[in-house]
């Protein structure tokens, strides 16, 4: 029997964790020349949002995948492939077939098909595609970065548009809203949770399990592909080595947001809060010039603490 503490709903508890971190960030924030706290300056706050947008977008799809009881390790590699293809297309450095973002949807769908139809464990399927897609990106680019440049050409203009703060933050916000509605307000979202809760029962209820799984992985691929475009613009280059370990950051954001790693339980709001927690934390440490190695150690502690705060204690 698992008991419930006098419970705050899961999302409220992750909000509590976020509030705690924001408070810390304010308290420890260095002061600007006018005496105000740098952390609270509008420029800094929007910087945080811009910085979390890429991982934030990836973790929206990751939330759905994890809710079905799966995992998607290939998102970092897909992002790298996407930055490379975008740069190649913009600079004419190679033949990008011009399929646009659809190919990332298709790559994700391939993951989903292997999971659903071949019944291979998601970890293994997406581990394989993580390796394979990274290889593809490196092979296409001959393992070199492709610079987009800062001139007056179309490529540079494109990058300038797609790295603007309002556009980056706006697209994260819009996608977050869409995915929130998809999960919380559609029957599809309910099916996603049902499959992760009890797949056998979901089958007995006649739910289209394979279709749901394929779509969920496809969406994850699509989002990683789109995040890659933002990444390429941000950095003015395509980079086949980009996004290493992004899958882990995304998984961390999802889990900090209270989604259960084994599926069935969780929410997009939780994931957004989890992403914010990571973003505010990083910002706080950077503002205080904490050594990046120390930063990792502090993050490790905070991840465990944040999840512990949300754990439902067993009372009986």
């Amino acid at each position: 029997m698992t008991g419930k503490r006098k419970r705050l709903p899961g999302d409220a508890r992750s909000l509590l964790a976020l509030a705690g971190i924001v408070l810390l960030a304010i308290v420890f924030s260095p002061a600007a020349s006018d005496g105000s706290r740098i952390f609270l300056q509008a420029g800094n706050l929007t910087d945080i949002l811009r910085q979390i947008s890429i991982i934030g977008i990836i973790s929206l799809g990751m939330t759905l995948v994890i809710l079905t009881g799966g995992i998607d390790l290939s998102v970092g590699s897909i992002l790298a492939l996407s930055t490379s293809l975008a740069a190649m297309w913009l600079t004419g450095a190679g033949q990008e077939p011009g399929y646009g973002l659809r190919i990332f949807y298709a790559l994700g769908a391939l993951n989903g098909a292997a999971v659903a139809a071949l019944d291979i464990q998601p970890f293994i399927v997406t581990l394989a595609s993580m390796i394979g897609i990274r290889g593809l990106a490196k092979w296409l680019t001959h393992n070199a970065n492709i610079d987009i440049g800062f001139g007056r050409d179309v490529a540079a203009a494109f990058a300038e548009v797609f790295r603007r703060k309002p556009l980056v933050i706006g697209s994260y916000a819009a996608l977050a809203a869409v995915f929130w509605a998809l999960l919380a307000r559609t029957v599809f979202g309910r099916h996603v949770r049902a499959i992760g809760d009890n797949e056998t029962a979901a089958r007995y209820a006649g739910l289209p399990i394979r279709r749901v799984k394929v779509i969920v992985y496809a969406l994850s691929g699509l989002l990683a592909g789109f995040a890659g475009v933002l990444y390429a613009a941000e950095n003015h280059q395509g980079n086949p080595n980009a996004g290493v370990a992004y899958e882990l950051d995304a998984i961390a954001a999802v889990v900090i947001g209270g989604t259960r790693l084994s599926g069935g339980k969780g929410s997009i709001t939780g994931t957004i809060v989890g992403t914010l927690i990571m973003g505010v934390l990083t910002n706080m440490l950077r503002l205080n010039n904490v050594d990046s190695n120390v930063e990792m150690m502090v993050k490790a502690v905070i991840i465990v603490l944040a999840v512990a705060v949300q754990r439902q204690r067993r009372t009986d």
């Binding site: 029997m1 029957v187 949770r193 049902a194 979901a202 007995y204 209820a205 739910l207 009372t315």
Partner: protein, 495 residues
């Protein structure tokens, strides 16, 4: 007989709901003590508190006169208290033997797993419950009735002084139940006490010495079974008069063309099964555990590969390859095992009910308008509809699952033990609903191990024996004896 266990003023609250309010129980040595009450009365909660898997908010427990504190299942085991849970707690991917010895204090396990020793330890106790399976087989491969016997074997192997049995026969066929009663009789003679939770009155009067009745978490009365009647106990449970003797259905009417025709159906388990189901007909499906009742449902619902024969729906050949495909043909299946095959335990009561019927966008008010009358019809008791279904009592969980299929409302529905774990009052409601489905022109297949239930609800009864059709009876000519004889392979076809 001296008193073995006494529980006093036990209270337990979940959120705003009291599962128990000052309840108590006194069990003598060698006594078989029934614990009765409607769905949600608090029986399972009381049993779990005594077995240490739920902590009470307040209350005292005495064992052999001494106050004890039972904080976890290990404490209970140390005192000699064993339990068979209503919702089985076995490890499906471990073997039968491993399930019996895991965490078992009478079998010390260190370091490497010694399968030979496990087999040696489990052999006698498996014989005692009559499982007829080897200790090395996986629990996942067992139907729920046999899994229940594994749980019983586990409790027996612990040399318990007191065994709490929470609806142990809810998934057993009559023959397996009869064997359980033999085992219980032998335990009683050797001085073991048993707390027996059941909704089946005949069992109570067959094996129990005393009965304690719970209602809304309080003790209403404790009665000597020999000095009371089923009617009196039911009155105590529900707090009003209730008739449990429904009329049998009238003999079959002249049916129009069949809704479902099954001919020479053969699957992994079934051999050459042939029958018709007509609109407005309730066809009972009888058979011992393992006879293929559930497999028939699985084949019709696209869960099992069909190796031979044919299924026709309204005259057209049908090959359901998945439950979703079967549902498009208008076939539904209420599964036998609500925990494994039925419910998404962390999702809400309402979501569990609507999951198979809703499409597109979630429209909460519309869903609630649809489920409200169903819950009223089934007398489903839940703290709220947004509570996780795991917070409901076993019988109320079953009602939520049944409501799912009433909402889908398929033309052909296979009900696999629909009244499992449902209290006497609500059972009548479910029988009434089955009658209403038939009256509305649906075709109902009703599988059950309870013959009175089949006799009461069916127009005809199909009897299976080891995957083959052993007999087909008209309700009018069927009797328990005839069905049992056919189910155990004693007679050939009746027609």
């Amino acid at each position: 007989m001296p008193e073995l266990l006494r529980a006093e003023s036990i209270s337990k609250r979940y959120g705003g709901v009291y599962a128990l309010q000052g309840a108590g129980l006194s069990v003598a040595e060698g006594e078989i003590h029934a614990l009765l009450g409607e769905n949600g009365a608090g029986k399972s909660t009381l049993a779990k508190i005594i077995a240490g898997s739920v902590r009470p908010d307040s209350g005292r427990i005495f064992f052999r006169g001494a106050p004890v504190s039972i904080r976890n299942p290990r404490d209970a085991q140390r005192l000699g208290i064993g339990i068979i849970y209503q919702e089985l707690d076995l490890f499906p991917n471990l073997t039968i033997g491993e399930n019996i010895v895991i965490g078992n204090r009478s079998f010390q396990e260190k370091g490497f797993v010694d399968f030979a020793r496990i087999e040696f330890f489990c052999g006698p106790v498996l014989d005692r419950v009559g499982l007829g399976r080897g200790a090395r087989e996986l629990v996942a491969s067992l139907p729920i009735g046999q899994a229940q016997l594994v749980a019983l074997a586990r409790a027996l192997s612990m040399d318990a002084r007191l065994i709490l049995m929470d609806e142990p026969t809810s998934a057993l066929s009559d023959d397996a139940a009869a064997r359980l009663f033999d085992v219980i009789g032998a335990l009683k003679r050797s001085g073991v006490s048993i707390v027996y939770v059941s909704h089946k009155m005949d069992e109570i009067f067959r094996i129990c010495d005393r009965a304690t009745v719970l209602r809304d978490g309080r003790v209403i009365a404790t009665e000597e079974v020999a000095h009371t009647t089923p009617e009196a106990l039911i009155r105590l449970m529900v707090g009003r008069e209730l008739s449990t003797t429904g009329d049998r259905l009238s003999s079959p009417v002249n049916f129009p063309a069949p809704l479902l025709s099954v001919s020479h159906l053969t699957t992994r388990k079934l051999r050459d099964v042939t029958f018709d189901l007509h609109p407005g007909e309730v066809l009972g499906v009888a058979g011992l555990v393992g006879a293929g009742r559930s497999e028939l449902g699985a084949a019709l619902f696209g869960l099992d590969r069909i190796r031979g024969g044919e299924i026709r729906v309204r005259g057209a050949a049908a090959h359901p390859r998945s439950p979703a495909a079967a549902m498009r043909l208008g076939i539904g299946l209420l599964p036998e095992d609500r925990k494994l095959e039925g419910l998404m335990m962390d999702m809400s009561v309402a979501e569990n009910t609507t999951i198979a019927a809703s499409r597109g966008l979630i429209r909460r008010t519309r869903e609630e308008a649809a489920i409200e009358p169903l819950y009223a019809r089934l007398a489903l008791r839940s703290p709220s509809w947004s509570a996780p279904v795991s917070a409901l009592s076993g019988g109320n969980q079953q009602k939520a699952l049944l409501a799912r299929w009433l909402l889908v409302n398929p033309d052909i529905v296979f009900l696999d033990d629909p009244a499992r774990g449902i209290d006497v009052g609500a059972k009548q409601d479910i029988y009434r609903i089955i009658g209403e489905l038939a009256a509305a022109g649906k075709g109902v297949l009703l599988a059950s191990s309870e013959l009175p239930e089949l006799l009461r609800c069916s127009h005809r009864i199909l009897v299976l024996n080891e995957g083959r059709m052993a007999a087909m009876f008209d309700a009018a000519e069927a009797t328990q004896e005839k069905i049992m004889a056919a189910a155990s392979g004693a007679v050939a076809h009746d027609r």
